[in-house]
């Protein structure tokens, strides 16, 4: 089994090497080769997952990488229910995205290069998920960061793309500092980096140290999973090709932070402070990002903010101590977010790169299938039963409340409402109403190589939550499955009626959709309807005169939010404070470099001055002490 696991992880690497070295000759076949190796990986993953579901754990060190005295760092992989889930999600969703990319990237130059990077990306992610120790995880962690850099900056001729890649790299690198420091602390206090060893000793270490470690690790998660305040790279990450966005947002990269926290559950379980920070940051990010998604007109940007928001949800899940809920949402989210991005990509493909929703509208006639899958995905993310998002979101909210975090629960519910609203705003804007497509553009249905993955993911988005989420009395429910490895640390304090909670979250979702519908649909169909209403039923006219509602909405709802989100949150906080903050790190480093560089005048006398000034200061310092 352990060799099967190794093979499964290495398969994308093989694809990467083949495409990388022979890319010049595999031009046409590169996509197929890349996808094939991921397919192999997925095929191998299936028996492994089944094996893990049966309760088996594979923890095998293939090779001792660093050995010094008692301390060893093995290169090893671990398959348990937690990593099995990630294995399934990553390989399957990536496989779909690869297939889609064959169609999407067709005709682009650097086709083979693209698949090389893509395979490498998946390989790094698999390493991150499957490693049985923190350092193997770290290799994947760094690898994912690097791949995101080259993939986001894939269209390097475009300045924005190159900048976005750089931004992603610098920002996540800031987080990585936390991760490295956390790992160094773990080495120092545990004397091992293997998960099993660390977790076995966790209760013997002082809580303060555990808190420091958990916070340091979480800083890494903030960077990788795009949480407040290091989320700024993610909206820009859409500068990359759409399959890359899908990959980053759905299956790989951003989920790494959530997975890492869930993986470190035994540590977080010992640190209420650390957990609370995770949950609070998650809740705040969820709300914050959702408000920002409300007003954008850029298709992919809305999706990007929604990703940040949804990752916030997952962080709530893992932060309150219900680790399985976070992972569950991660899984369902991977499906519908990949679906959303790929459909957005299909729209973009059809619209020749246009992403502004104001230039769309009425596309449901032109591309019905894409429209349908996108609606499915939106329903899923909005949390409408029986689609998958409903189950995962509901358990996060109810667990948050039951574990004694009512405020976080409230924030979650509000966010759920907003999520439903902006997703359907997007749907209505894009696919319904009158066509605002500019002259000369002929949107068309996506080719089947792109549609097939879309439908597969759509089916996944519908059923996956139901299959795993319904609490059967047997043992296969997701809770049971993931709880095998991550303990429910905090005692449940209150028992609320689960039915009530479910109803509340459904209401939040439905309400969101309804408001979106009220706000956007009738306006487009206004002339026809008003004609009908005016002629036949004056009362009807009053009832349906939604100009008024639209105005009210605009005045009461949209404006304030627009002000709050656009003016304040987005413009002031995001652009000025955080964006500038991250840029400033780079800028300060650069400016300091430039300032310091002036010391290097090229004149030998100045150099000699430095040497002697150094001597003077150091000697003088010590001599002052004996004066």
């Amino acid at each position: 089994m352990e060799w099967l696991l190794l093979l499964c992880v290495l398969s994308p690497a093989v694809g990467c090497i083949i495409n990388g070295l022979f890319g010049r000759w595999t031009y046409r076949a590169a996509g197929v080769i890349g996808s094939t190796f991921l397919g192999i990986s997925f095929a191998l993953a299936v028996p492994l997952i089944i094996y893990a579901i049966q309760g088996h754990v594979v923890d095998y060190s293939y090779y001792h990488w660093i050995v010094s005295g008692k301390f060893t760092v093995p290169f090893g992989l671990r398959l348990d229910s937690l990593s099995a889930m990630m294995l399934g999600v990553v390989t399957f969703v990536s496989f779909m995205i690869h297939i889609y990319a064959i169609g999407y990237m067709g005709g682009h130059k650097g086709y083979a290069r693209f698949f090389t990077y893509l395979n490498l990306f998946v390989f790094a992610m698999l390493l991150l998920c499957m490693g049985n120790n923190y350092l193997t995880m770290f290799i994947g962690w760094e690898g994912v960061g690097f791949c995101s850099y080259i993939l986001i900056g894939y269209y390097y001729e475009k300045k924005t793309a190159a900048d976005a890649g750089r931004k992603a790299f610098v920002t996540t690198r800031i987080g990585d500092i936390g991760f490295i420091v956390g790992v160094l602390f773990i080495i120092l206090y545990f004397g091992s980096v293997k998960f099993t060893d660390v977790f076995a000793q966790a209760h013997m270490i002082s809580p303060a140290i555990i808190t420091i470690i958990t916070l340091a690790l979480f800083l890494g998660a903030i960077g990788k999973s795009a949480q407040f305040p290091l989320y700024v790279w993610l909206p820009d990450a859409m500068e990359g090709p759409t399959p890359v966005s899908a990959l980053i947002h759905a299956a790989t990269m951003v989920t790494a932070g959530v997975y890492m926290v869930a993986r470190s559950a035994p540590l977080y379980a010992l640190s209420p402070t650390g957990s609370l920070v995770v949950a609070s940051v998650g809740a705040f990010t969820a709300l914050f990002a959702a408000t920002m998604a409300l007003t954008h007109f850029d298709l992919k940007r809305i999706l990007a903010y929604s990703t940040i928001s949804q990752i916030g949800y997952m962080m709530i899940g893992v932060g309150v101590g219900a680790y399985w809920t976070g992972m569950f949402h991660l899984m369902t989210h991977a499906f519908f977010k990949a679906l959303l991005f790929l459909s957005a990509g299909a729209v973009m493909h059809a619209m020749h790169g246009v992403l502004d929703m104001r230039l769309m509208g009425g596309l449901r006639h032109k591309m019905p299938q894409v429209c349908i899958v996108m609606i499915i995905a939106s329903l899923a993310i909005a949390g409408i039963p029986p689609l998958s998002g409903f189950f995962s979101k509901d358990v996060i909210l109810s667990e948050a409340l039951m574990l004694g975090h009512p405020i976080i629960w409230l924030v979650g519910v509000v966010t759920a409402f907003m999520t439903a609203f902006y997703m359907f705003r997007m749907i209505f804007f894009t696919f319904f109403g009158e066509s605002r497509v500019p002259e000369g553009m002929h949107p068309h249905e996506a080719p089947s190589v792109m549609l097939v993955p879309l439908w597969v993911l759509a089916v996944g988005s519908i059923v996956i939550g139901g299959i795993l989420g319904v609490k059967v009395h047997g043992h296969i429910s997701i809770e049971h499955f993931i709880s095998l490895t991550s303990p429910n640390a905090f005692p449940i304090v209150h028992k609320y009626s689960e039915t009530l909670l479910i109803i509340i979250s459904i209401i939040a979702g439905v309400l969101g959709i309804a408001v979106a519908w009220l706000a956007y649909i009738p306006k487009g169909a206004f002339s026809f309807r008003s004609f009908v209403v005016r002629t036949f039923h004056p009362l009807y006219r009053c009832f349906f005169n939604l100009w008024w509602v639209d105005e009210i909405y605009n005045f009461l709802f949209c404006r304030p939010f627009w002000h709050v989100s656009e003016r304040f949150l987005w413009k002031a906080v995001d652009v000025k404070v955080i964006d500038a903050g991250v840029d400033d790190v780079g800028r300060v480093a650069g400016l300091t470099g430039r300032a310091v560089r002036i010391l290097q005048t090229g004149f030998i006398n100045n150099y000699a001055c430095w040497v002697s000034a150094g001597a003077l200061i150091i000697c003088g310092w010590y001599l002052l002490k004996i004066m």
């Binding site: 560089r597 290097q600 005048t601 090229g602 004149f603 030998i604 006398n605 000699a608 002697s612």
Partner: protein, 100 residues
């Protein structure tokens, strides 16, 4: 003689004067000679301390230092010749092509 401080002070003054020469002069030859003064004054410190501590090894070290200084000077002069060949000047501030 039991007071070594005046001797040390003379040696240190020479050292500092040599340092001034290296730091402020433009002519490579003068810099070279200033370096000679510096290293010689350091050698002088060896001899002073050798005398006052009653061991003979300091004087041996002076010979070593002198030999090193001589070889350094020889190489320095060779570099001066090369400097003159490539740029027709021995002004050290003229050689500032590589910077930042």
């Amino acid at each position: 003689m039991e007071n070594y401080v005046p001797f040390l002070m003379v040696a240190f003054i020479l050292f500092a004067i040599g340092a001034i020469g290296v730091l402020v002069r433009r002519n490579f030859f003068v810099v070279l000679m200033s370096l000679e003064i510096m290293i010689n004054s350091a050698g002088l410190v060896f001899v002073i301390l050798s005398y006052f501590s009653g061991t003979v090894s300091g004087q041996v070290f002076f010979i070593f230092v002198a030999a090193v200084a001589a070889s350094e000077t020889a190489v320095g002069l060779a570099i001066a010749v090369l400097m003159y060949r490539v740029r027709h000047t021995v002004d050290v501030t003229e050689f500032s092509m590589m910077k930042r």
